[in-house]
Symmetry: C2
Subunit: 353 residues, 2 copies
């Protein structure tokens, strides 16, 4: 994880690198530059730490991801806020959860999240299995408890069978840890290859001339200093307002970002750089969810992070590049979930404040 | 639609018919009796009134069914309460909707709903296209308006293209009526053939001996007087508490059922007989959603509708028959929905009371 100092260093490197970008490179040269900063998605399900991925684990994780009975109220599942029909997020400023409470930050997309350096806007979860335990317990989201999740799962014989198949070595496989591991396994399959990947993989025609110009600008202006790697972001932590702090409408003062995780003054208003794959599908933007227009978001970023005014033409080109990050979601057939039994804990929509 | 008088007549006929049932009929005789009361599901998508079903209409309807932007808040779609992973309903006493408000009645399953004589517990919508307009506008459900639905749809060019393809003859295809027609077309595909259908179609082995005994009891006791036809219910209106009114815990006094539709005294506490396909997946039971155990629901029905005490063994057999109504849902691949544009109306979670 990068500190502010390495951030600064990265920006300086970017400054130096700027000189190397030609105004109108050939596709071959553009690809060469791009491959120094970005990486195409793999064609197979990525491995994750301490969690061998099997077909049984993916199938179980998919069922859990879609199951609203994982929430106290029976209303919300992972899918509710990470909606796989609308870009893997909920298209709300911040999510609405248990008791109609509003979450504190914009829900990030679950697509390609497996490639992020850590999860949540402040990186407080090391990986997806750690992340999966958060919302299910958060009072403003699913408001459940690990004990109640496990009791719910154990009340349905089909789930017990599925957990046994997914965790064959475990004497007592139905645990909250395994619940999270199975969800991580399913989420690792949510990878969306995009025209940008085809371009990186050698197809000149995969990006329009405009998108190619946008990619060149994206690298040239320094956007790629923070938004790089396989997810075009999601790899490091940077202050929002590095050069010029945006207004409180976009950067609410109460949310100090990563400061809450590290308690380090330097981490005030520091957030994980947003991973930009499928960004055209996941308005509104930023952790505050305050900006709905992608072009406007590009302009806010240019000004606050780079101290640059981009022209309307430049912003349009950058958006054309960002559009090329919209990928093809894997075909996801709805799971058929086990029926409750008489011993399944009853849903409770009651709000404890 | 049946009046109370025809209801009574049906019950009398059932009383007469009772004598004809043997205690332990052969599968062939049992099937013969069953086919006088029930009908297997068709193998093709059923036709619906005034709405020719096409592949384009089904695809559009599926997108609309899954789209949370059809609600004012952006939180709820048709799928939220008619969850296709959990039996086509939400497994709640009554649904939780906009602003965390509780709906007045238990959400019925959308599976096979196309075969019901009318929609809603009180039959106030003639068909699924009329039904589809209800929840989207109900203040406690999706809290939206037809004008805002149409504005939302028109703001996304992909939807406009899909409406044009689904309604090729229409000059202005993006209308609230066509929204409802497309949803009806998708819902007409949600048909779930079950072991009971295989039995009706001639497969003796499709029902266990216990389920066969349950089916025989179901007809013999008179359950099939109200719960008959292709959906094993959903075909007529009957007073809840025909013989003995259940307690207010199960039959809340404030909800007079079909009385609100017809304003006829005879229709007090009259409801559409619940269609029983997939009943094992759709606890809790009754319009009030107060009973979670299917066996208990059978006992409540026997006592209140037939004035009969069923033995524990009889109830177990009837439940075994009801389990044979759990069908195979069609494979449903999640749609990929169009992205919002700058002109898409913003979601509002605000609650107007």
């Amino acid at each position: 994880m990068k500190s502010l100092l390495t951030t600064m260093a990265a920006l300086l490197v970017a400054g130096v690198a700027t000189a190397a970008f030609a105004a109108d490179p050939t596709p071959v040269d553009l690809r060469k530059s791009a491959l120094e900063l970005f990486k195409p998605l793999p064609s197979t399900v990525p491995a994750v730490k301490d969690n061998p991925i099997t077909a049984e684990k993916i199938a179980l994780g998919k069922a859990l991801f879609f199951d609203p009975r994982m929430s106290a109220s029976g209303v919300f599942s992972c899918y509710s806020c990470h909606n796989l029909t609308t870009g893997g997020d909920d298209n709300l400023e911040t999510s609405i959860g248990h008791g109609w409470q509003k979450g504190p930050r914009n829900a990030p997309t679950v697509f390609n999240a497996v490639f992020n350096v850590a999860q949540f806007w402040d990186g407080r979860a090391d990986d997806l299995k750690a992340q999966a335990k958060g919302p299910v317990q958060a009072g403003v989201e699913m408001a459940n408890t690990p004990v109640n999740v496990v009791a719910t799962l154990k009340s349905m014989p089909q789930y017990v069978t599925w957990f046994k198949a997914a965790f064959p070595g475990d004497a007592d496989p139905v645990t909250f840890d395994n619940f999270a591991r199975a969800i991580e396994a399913f989420e690792a399959t949510l990878v969306t290859p995009a025209p940008f990947d085809a371009f990186l993989n050698g197809d000149d025609a995969a990006l329009s001339k405009e998108a190619q110009a946008g990619l060149n600008l994206f690298m040239d202006k320094g956007c790629a200093s923070c938004h790089n790697g396989i997810n075009v972001g999601g790899e490091g932590y940077y202050p929002f307002g590095l050069v010029e702090k945006p207004g409180a409408d976009v950067l609410p003062e109460g949310d100090k970002g990563r400061f809450a995780v590290t308690a380090t003054a330097d981490d005030s208003y520091v957030f994980r750089a947003g991973p930009l794959r499928n960004i055209a599908l996941t308005a509104p933007y930023f952790h505050s969810g305050k900006v709905w227009d992608l072009k406007q978001a590009v302009e806010v970023m240019a000004q606050s992070q780079l101290g640059e005014k981009v022209t309307d033409d430049e912003a349009t080109k950058i958006v054309a590049f960002l559009d090329s990050l919209t990928g093809k979601a894997p075909e996801i057939a709805l799971p058929v979930l086990p029926a409750e039994t008489v011993s399944t804990p009853r849903p409770s929509g009651q709000v404890n404040k």
